[in-house]
């Protein structure tokens, strides 16, 4: 299977697709359902934004679903996840409730942050999800700190620290790399390279566009991964997790992926062509590919898949319904949660 995108760096090897191990029936079906849940959730969020039910910034994850779903399959109980503002997919993958996420998007009382955080700022202690951060790159040292705490406590946990190709140019990323490698911290840096940071294509912002090499001078191993193939993501994640859990320090996984929608809801999208988007969409869509595989391997037939599709749709409709009718937070919440 071809990679989802032509990597602009001539040195970059195309990820070895032949080496991608197959999924079991359960894995393929479960990954399909998870990716579809994220896709449908995001489509619904987009609609609700258009209806004025969601305000401010709203960054959709459509196109990138295989990354979080594949990585989540690697994790064990107690492992942690942290990311930036394009976070809805990460939360759903972590097992956070779609109702609570959607109600946060609409700014309602039973959203994950009681309506105070919104799209970019949600957290769940239960599910090990540490946000939801709006300042590009700021989650990277924080994720490194979560890993520090795991090492300090001597447990077996690892931390997934996600950030984008644009964030990869922030200085604090490299300060984090240095400490993580120096102290052998169990953190996987998952760079979601969707080729654009707002309207800036990666080659216009990065001197080294093979982001898996960004850890070289800190002795952090890195790999480029086909981030549109959930199996490739899982395989690379397993390897990186084993490395971290063995006490060997951090690992960098550069996920070659693509976002179909605009950066946020208002995006003139003049920086790329319609054809470019359509090409990825029709040829390398992570969900379509999983669907074809499932049919081909007879893990399910069309009917079986339709049942999954319907169940997912119901789940998302319920979430939207809930988020539309949940009340706004009580005004007494204005001054709560500032100190404890």
């Amino acid at each position: 299977m071809a990679v989802a995108q032509k990597n602009p760096n001539a040195n970059a090897k195309e990820p070895a697709s032949l080496a991608v191990p197959d999924f079991s029936k359960e894995q393929d079906l479960s990954a399909y359902r998870s990716m579809l849940t994220i896709r449908r959730f995001e489509e619904k969020a987009g609609q609700m934004y258009g209806m004025g039910l969601i305000g401010g910034f709203c960054h959709l994850y459509i196109g990138q679903e295989a990354v979080v779903v594949g990585m989540q399959m690697v994790l064990k109980d107690g492992d942690q996840v942290i990311t930036g503002y394009r976070d809805h997919g990460h939360m759903l993958a972590c097992g956070m409730d779609a109702k609570g996420v959607m109600a946060e998007l609409t700014g309602r009382a039973h959203g994950y942050s009681k309506g105070k955080g919104g799209s970019m700022h949600m957290f769940s202690v239960d599910k090990g999800f540490f946000g939801g951060h709006g300042i590009v790159g700021a989650q990277v040292p924080i994720g490194t700190g979560l890993a520090f705490a795991n090492q300090y406590r001597g447990n077996d946990r690892i931390t997934l620290t996600y950030f984008g190709d644009g964030a990869a140019n922030q200085g604090q990323v490299y300060e984090s790399f240095n400490m993580a490698s120096l102290w052998k911290l169990p953190v996987i840096y998952v760079i979601e390279n969707n080729r654009y940071a707002m309207g800036t294509e990666i080659t216009r912002a990065s001197a080294e566009v093979n982001l898996s090499r960004r850890g070289l001078s800190f002795n952090i191993p890195g790999e480029q991964v086909d981030g549109m193939d959930v199996r490739a993501v899982k395989a690379a994640g397993d390897k990186a997790a084993a490395w971290c859990r063995a006490g060997k320090g951090p690992f960098i996984l550069e996920m070659l992926t693509y976002r179909y929608r605009g950066h946020s809801m208002s995006d003139p999208a003049k920086y790329r062509t319609r054809e470019e988007v359509d090409k990825v969409r029709t040829m390398h869509d992570p969900i379509d590919m999983a669907r074809h595989r499932i049919l081909e391997k007879k893990f399910a037939n069309e009917d079986g898949l339709k049942k999954i599709d319907a169940a997912v749709r119901d789940l998302i409709n319920d979430a939207a319904e809930f988020a539309t009718h949940d009340p706004e937070p009580d005004v007494s919440e204005l001054y709560t949660d500032i100190y404890r």
Partner: protein, 463 residues
């Protein structure tokens, strides 16, 4: 000439120490770099090195002496050909003079009354607004267009001016303020940066120290927090630290303040933060004409200027005089609406609340005088004081938090300079003391409102 060795200080705060041990005896020869003694304080032990060559002529402070004051002569070194007997009569070479003694000799003034007292800070000087010739055409334009025109005009005028920031070029600005600049001035002068605020702010400072005149756009001032060190420690202070040799003519601009529904990390007013810093000028216009005239002034100003725009105001239209070169003075407030009953001081988005409140108040027979501060630093205190002397009452309006806010500063100045004129305590209307909530209902409550300004004005009028 015999050379004195003085009791050294181990730290900036050390005043005395113990001379624990001599490692050379009188008559020993010493080379520069030889360790001749050991001294200690409660914190540390240090070796005293000879700085000169010769013979240890005389030990003035014996080993084991406690509490030897810093700069006390502890020994004398004789150069070749000198004898111990020379010591008594000789005028010692390393005769020590304190900075104060040196200053006194040179006639440096000690400050008022001969005490070491800081002189008064110079009063800021600002010219009045230029006269707009009769018959000048007024053009209605948005603040966004006015800012763009200001940059374009200054870039045409001075090739050292360039714009740099995230998405300023090909994307035409995240908020479209730099629209068309790339097309007119090209990629050399309109530069898209990576997302690396601390880096490009510092690079801007370096370019400015080398004489260029960067306009650095922060996509919003929330992201300037990444660059804070370069703004405060480099941009603001270098002129002073270099004794006036090296300054930076640089503008840091972008939207500041509260935006709609973007929650705590993207919705904050930094007016007070920057206006705290000596060396920075801080401007926060409320309308298109001021935005244009002041941005042109900021670009020409030889100092670092923080230019705080406002996302919500970008789309507001107001008249701008059609002049070839419309430049406004930095540091001059403007009385936007005259009145005798109460002074309302605001800037940027706060003016929106202030003017609407003044309109409401007029219906109740209260004539508010509304002052648009325009520049937060240096602050035009005179205009505020003159108004309060007339009205006897004042209300400040800001989106930022009250504690250590700009309103707090205005209130303090009024208290210092117009205390006897006040008929009521100064009232502050500000953002609530909470991070900005996302939920629509809470966000509204967190912000100042026209109703709050009206209520504050009535309260100080005892109405």
């Amino acid at each position: 000439m015999p050379i004195e060795v003085l009791m050294p200080a181990l730290s900036p705060t050390m005043e005395k120490g113990n001379l624990s041990k001599w490692l050379k005896k009188e008559g020993d020869s010493v080379k520069s770099g030889d360790i001749i003694a050991e001294i200690e304080t409660d914190k540390a032990t240090m070796e005293v090195e000879a700085a000169d060559e010769g013979t240890l002529g005389k030990i003035l402070i014996p080993a084991g002496t406690a509490d030897v004051a810093v700069n006390t002569p502890i020994a004398v070194i004789l150069s070749e050909g000198e004898k111990a007997s020379d010591i008594k009569n000789a005028k010692l070479a390393a005769s020590f003079e304190t900075p104060a003694e040196a200053s006194a000799k040179a006639g440096v003034s000690k400050g008022e009354g001969g005490q070491s007292k800081a002189p008064d800070a110079p009063a800021p000087q600002a010219a009045a607004d230029p006269d707009i010739p009769d018959g000048t055409e007024m053009m209605s334009m948005t603040m966004r267009e006015a800012l763009r025109d200001a940059m374009a005009e200054e870039m045409r005028r001075d090739t050292d001016v360039f714009v740099m920031g995230e998405e300023v070029a090909e994307y035409q600005g995240a908020y479209k303020v730099t629209q068309g600049l790339l097309q007119e001035f090209g990629g050399k002068r309109v530069i898209d940066t990576p997302i690396t605020e601390h880096g490009f702010a510092g690079l801007g400072v370096g370019a400015a120290l080398a004489g260029l005149k960067p306009i650095v756009e922060f996509m919003t001032f929330n992201f300037a927090m990444q660059a804070m060190d370069q703004l405060i420690n480099s941009a603001a202070k270098t002129l002073y630290m270099s004794g006036g040799q090296m300054g930076c003519s640089i503008v840091f601009r972008g939207p500041n303040g509260v935006a709609a529904r973007v929650a705590a990390q993207h919705s904050q007013d930094y007016s007070a933060w920057f206006s705290h810093i000596p060396g920075l000028k801080v401007i926060a216009p409320s309308n298109a004409a001021d935005a244009k005239g002041l941005l042109k002034a900021a670009i020409r100003d030889p100092n670092p200027v923080i230019f705080l725009e406002n996302e919500i105001l970008y789309g507001h239209s107001s008249p701008v005089p059609k002049l070839d070169d419309f430049v406004l003075p930095i540091g001059k407030a403007k009385i936007v609406r005259a009145g005798n009953d109460v002074t309302i001081v605001a800037w940027s988005m706060g003016m929106d609340y202030a003017l609407k409140a003044a309109e409401e108040l007029s219906k109740d027979g209260i004539a508010a005088e509304v002052i648009d501060l325009r520049t937060l630093k240096p602050m035009d205190t005179d205009t505020i004081i003159a108004s309060v002397q007339k009205t006897g009452r004042a209300v400040t309006v800001e989106e930022g938090w009250a504690q250590s806010g700009v309103g707090a500063e205005i209130a303090a100045r009024i208290m210092e300079k117009a205390f006897d004129y006040l008929d009521a305590p100064v009232a502050r209307v500000s953002g609530k003391d909470v991070p900005m909530p996302y939920a629509a209902n809470l966000e509204k409550l967190a912000l100042p409102s026209v109703a709050e300004v009206v209520a504050a004005a009535k309260a100080v009028c005892y109405r």
